[in-house]
């Protein structure tokens, strides 16, 4: 039988590996709306990681701020300024 701690921490390690991919695309992407969407993927994976690390109070604060408010504020900024990042 597999050790439960290894299984649970393996979920966290998979979330961390996927968040590396999401962060890479969020920084590289030229279309700024797509960068915000990749940032939302990264926030969801970080929330899963915090849950794995036994911090439910952090998740309860982090999810409204990072999934709810950051994309709203940055989409407001993008709609006021410009959509593309010049090369």
């Amino acid at each position: 039988m597999i050790d439960p701690q290894v299984l649970v921490l393996g979920i966290g390690a998979l979330a961390a590996l996927a968040s590396v991919v999401a962060v890479y695309f969020a920084v590289i992407e030229r279309n700024l709306v797509r960068a915000v969407v990749f940032s939302a993927i990264q926030s969801t994976l970080y929330a899963l990681l915090y849950y794995i690390l036994m911090a439910p109070d952090i998740v309860l604060v982090y999810v409204p701020v990072a999934v709810g408010l950051y994309p709203a504020v940055i989409l407001f900024l993008i709609s006021k300024t410009e959509r593309e990042e010049k090369p």
Binding site: D3, P4, Q5, V6, V8, L9, G10, G12, A13, A16, L17, S19, V20, V23, Y24, A26, V27, L32, A35, V36, S39, Q42, S43, Y46, L49, Y50, L53, M54, A55, P56, D57, I58, V61, Y62, V65, A66, L69, Y70, V73, I74, F76, L77, I78, K80, T81, E82, E85, K86
Partner: protein
């Protein structure tokens, strides 16, 4: 022979270090100010993750996982129950610090957003190279 739990924790820490490097690249080398704000939020979240991993604690046994720092049966807490709670709970101090840091990060991000809005209103662009050219 390395312990698999240690291997998993090391893997998470290495991923966080890579995230930190990518976010620093985004802050220093991308020209758009909006992209810099996104990279700053990613940098702050990654630093918070390091602080939370500082307080993580290994499980006592497969039957007794480490628990969040919330005491459930406080009504009839005997001395043995409190001793078991203090042996299993993760450290609450980094979590309290991170809780404060997330809210302060939100305030800083709002300030940066309106600063960028004002820059766009004055100069008509959010590209740092254009802004440098205009001022010089």
């Amino acid at each position: 022979m390395i312990d698999p739990v240690t291997y998993m924790l090391t893997l998470i820490i290495l991923c966080m270090v890579v995230n930190l490097g990518i976010a620093l690249y985004g802050i220093f080398f991308r020209p758009s100010l909006v992209k810099k704000i996104i990279a700053v939020t990613i940098l702050g979240d990654t630093a918070n993750t390091f602080a939370i991993m500082l307080g993580y604690r290994r499980w006592l046994s497969p039957e007794k996982p480490s628990i969040p720092p919330v005491l459930l049966n406080y009504a009839n807490a005997t001395k043995e129950a409190l001793a078991e709670f203090s042996a299993r709970a993760v450290d609450p101090l980094p979590q309290a610090l991170v809780l404060t840091a997330i809210v302060i990060g939100l305030a800083v991000t709002l300030f940066l957003v309106f600063l960028t809005l004002q820059i766009h209103r004055l100069y008509g662009t959010t590209d740092v190279r254009e802004i440098r050219k205009l001022r010089g």
